[in-house]
Symmetry: C2
Subunit: 536 residues, 2 copies
């Protein structure tokens, strides 16, 4: 989203999306920024509301083309820093830490960050005062009356802007179909208390989003109370808690932290493992532990595994598959149901919070953001139902250019939009080697489809695997190469553990990883590898 | 599930599954019945609890191999009849209508059907009295205190069996992670009342599962009350309501029904359309109407579309995509959220109903059925928590053979299990031509993968489409064939309407249908056609 007045333009957030299942072999989707590149002379800044992937994740893929300073709060920029550093883009990018209630100038705009409550620390709304009026973008928010860090939602700042007059409010539509108020983060504490009290002689695993520092803090506090050590497990969990601890957002009592390799040395009833993998990502710590394929985290009879997170739509089957594996290991598994106190609460406000915010800000123009068309439509209707004099609510789609002032709003055109697909290979490789594959690139390196029939009962390959390629190498070259590739697929499946064998997504990830490594070494190409498994 | 004593064996239900997204191009999955075929001499009957697809859908694919009579209630067998007739299997199959509380003999077993409440009419539990004890299978159930047809759940029958002693209870685990009671079907009436009252000048579309005769009856009654005509739209909606009306399960006031082709002739505020497509199946009536591609049902500004159904896991993205299309048409869309009164209620009982049933039956052995491992585990734990003397709860997986009597239970072996994949082509073709494709068949006809890059902005094909084949026809034969197939793909995409173009699943279905028709006509083969779309 870009805000422009005269010759000044700023961009709010720069996120990625996870692909729909139709997009086989694509790992992430980032926005097409050609409009911004074209108008780069006007572009003054990227302003980040908070550090979630859908708000910062595209930066490594677009920042080189935009070459513009990035503003954000301390924790947000710590996450950005680690991302840019992985992609070796840190030296060439200017990061500017900002604080709520400390306005600064960007071109002809005055920009002020406003503290909001959300499931990540350092989340803010952004008020942009332009010569044409004030534009407020909420970022993601809920209005939590009892945030665990005692930093309340800054109602006063919104009220002040509302009093002075706001041209446009762009507000988070995620939970518009939920009535009432979203429960406070504090509601989870009661459930955690209960779970720690009943964890008995087993290990207690708590899995949550690795950026949910509030939630992780809660787990640490309860662990301290119940005399359990804490072990952070999984690459992004270790990284994120490291950043948060260094920046003083995460408080760890002395001596509570133990290293993954020391886990075994502690009695099971004296340990809490805070682990990543809430979406059952195939290479994540919890997904691996669930099939007994993690070197430090063996899950046994009597352990408790708590999934303190929501199921992102599209991940249901993978997550439930992981939960089944955990039950088979004999663990007590606790996940989000309609039970109360909740094991997870949303970071997005419900209808009453949305209404409260609109009533505080009373904008001339209201534009719902974040959500599909259905959510935007419902949010616009919600805003209209408040009957605020002069308020106009507009549903805008990606790419639409809206021109507005106090008199009205015009849809003046469309910027090119679209999505760029990124196939980053297996999750393990992200750190060393991320490749942006647009269509051209794909056409160069082609596609390799290993197709195999796996016997469900034995987990073994039924027939010799087929490998279909397109646009990869010439048929003459391919012969010997693919013969070895076929063997490799067989070996790859054979080396899977017994439980892994029953799980298609793990097997496919394994085949994909092995085959890519081999093909790249042989041909110096990185074709899209799409394993197709037929179970018989 | 089979029950065997001595030389007598009966099977309870014979359902199909819908495939996981990993199984590209596979439409339905049916069980491997080789164990039953091997022991066919002992097989006396298939007993059906009710007529949902996951309980009867596999019959057309296995009945020829089993050649055994099928028992069920009137409505269940009406659905089976229509299924078998489509597959030309009706003449060779014996269907036996049974009634609750009218026991009959099958081999050495006495079988009694017990009326339960569920989201389909004619749903029953089955009590099988064997020389070794009584086995009760609940089928799917909730305990609805106010069923819309006034036929209550037969608590007394369960109580009587419980009093006399039951060896084993197999019970529906679907909603084991929901607390309390599932709301009555009657709860939906209040919501419908509200929706009819507020439908204003527009058409009112109500979409629900086509077997939900109670729900459809409710829609008809409200339509009568509000002076709207009723039009049933969609092939399975028309079929199922036809059966239900003929068998007197669905009551239609005189003159209320209008034909799809007459829809246009009635003012929009005098019509209710009861339509199929709640899961956004690509060729369903509602999915087509949502992209303005249905010849009778044009959805306009001011219409109301009610999705009175749950989202089956895995269908989220497709359904939300359809809802977005409906919003773009200007419709008011109502779907299941946390609002009350509910627009949909589950047909499966929650924890308190499960406890009530176990307390009535007080079995020696309790075996959870219907659900993934996690649900079975939780249900077994729920049963143990009731502390019924001598009750043992067992979690069993597909294929396990349990031998039990009053003294205990042994796991004595494993029957071969597995799944057979069926690729029935496009939904439209089901009626004329359904093909069972097991692995052998697949190997014979091969795979064809049209791979194309579609420009998101224009909906047009970016480059000439690639077609990859494997095991289909010899490369020499393939040349001319595939050149034309490539053109066909281009034409197929070009002929899609503007909104269809934005919807991958519709485009893929279109390509698949056209390509299959062509390839079959040319080669007399039916390869698996798996369109791969890369959006650029």
């Amino acid at each position: 989203m870009a805000v422009r007045y005269g010759d000044d333009m700023v961009v709010v957030d720069c996120g990625l999306m996870f692909p729909e299942p139709e997009l086989l072999g694509i790992d992430v989707v980032v926005p097409d920024v050609s409009f911004l590149v074209e108008h780069r002379a006007q572009l003054r800044a990227i302003l980040l509301t908070h550090g979630h992937e859908d708000h910062i994740g595209a930066l490594p893929f677009v920042i080189e083309d935009l070459r513009v300073p990035i503003y954000g709060t301390e924790f947000t920029l710590a996450l950005v820093e680690s991302k840019l550093s992985e992609h070796k883009l840190l030296d060439t990018t200017r990061l500017q830490i900002v604080k709520p209630r400390e306005p600064f100038q960007v071109g002809s705009f005055k920009v002020e960050y406003i503290h909001v409550t959300h499931s990540i620390v350092g989340a803010c709304a952004i008020a942009i005062t332009t010569p044409g009026g004030v534009v407020i973008h909420t970022g993601d928010f809920k209005i939590d009356p009892t945030p665990t860090d005692n930093r309340p939602f800054d109602l006063h700042a919104f009220a002040e802007y509302g009093k002075r007059g706001v041209l446009a409010l762009l507000s988070d539509s995620t939970n518009v179909d939920r009535r009432g108020y979203t429960p406070s983060e504090l509601a989870v504490r009661d459930r955690f208390d209960d779970l720690f009290a009943n964890a008995g002689a087993g290990r207690l695993y708590i899995c949550c989003f690795t950026s949910s520092i509030h939630r992780i803090q809660l787990a640490v506090e309860m662990a301290a109370e119940y005399g359990r050590k804490v072990c952070f497990l999984g690459r992004s969990m270790e990284n994120n808690t490291g950043h948060a601890h260094r920046l003083d957002f995460l408080h760890l009592p002395d001596g509570i932290l133990i290293r993954p390799q020391d886990l075994r040395a502690f009695p099971r009833d004296q340990v809490t493992v805070v682990i990543s993998g809430s979406q059952a990502e195939p290479m994540s710590a919890l997904a691996r532990a669930s099939v007994n394929n993690h070197k430090h985290a063996a899950i046994s009879e009597g352990d408790t595994v708590v999934l303190s997170s929501r199921i992102i739509p599209g991940n249901e089957k993978a997550i439930y598959r992981m939960i089944n594996h955990l039950f088979k290991r004999g663990a007590q598994v606790v996940y989000e149901t309609d039970s109360y106190p909740p094991v997870h609460v949303s970071g997005h406000g419900s209808q009453e919070e949305m209404k409260l915010l609109i009533n505080l800000v009373r904008p001339r123009h209201f534009i719902p953001v974040h959500g599909e068309f259905r959510q935007l439509s419902l949010h616009a209707r919600l805003a209209r139902s408040l009957r605020i004099p002069n308020l106009q609510a507009h549903v805008a789609e990606d790419g639409e250019i809206l021109e507005m002032d106090q008199n009205g709003m015009d849809r003046v055109g469309t910027a090119p939009t679209g999505r760029v697909f990124i196939d980053s290979g297996s999750m393990d490789e992200v750190a060393e080697d991320v490749i942006v594959r647009d269509r051209r690139h794909l056409a160069e390196d082609g596609i390799v489809l290993p197709i195999l029939a796996i016997n469900k009962a034995t987990g073994r390959i039924q027939n010799a695997p087929e490998i279909v390629t397109s646009g990869f190498v010439s048929p003459i070259l391919a012969d010997g190469l693919l013969a070895r590739a076929r063997e490799l697929v067989v070996e790859s499946v054979a080396s899977a553990g017994p439980e892994e064998s029953g799980d298609w997504s793990l097997i496919k990830e394994r085949i994909r990883r092995d085959l890519r490594k081999y093909l790249q070494a042989q041909t110096n190409k990185r074709p899209l590898v799409l394993p197709v498994i037929l179970e018989v």
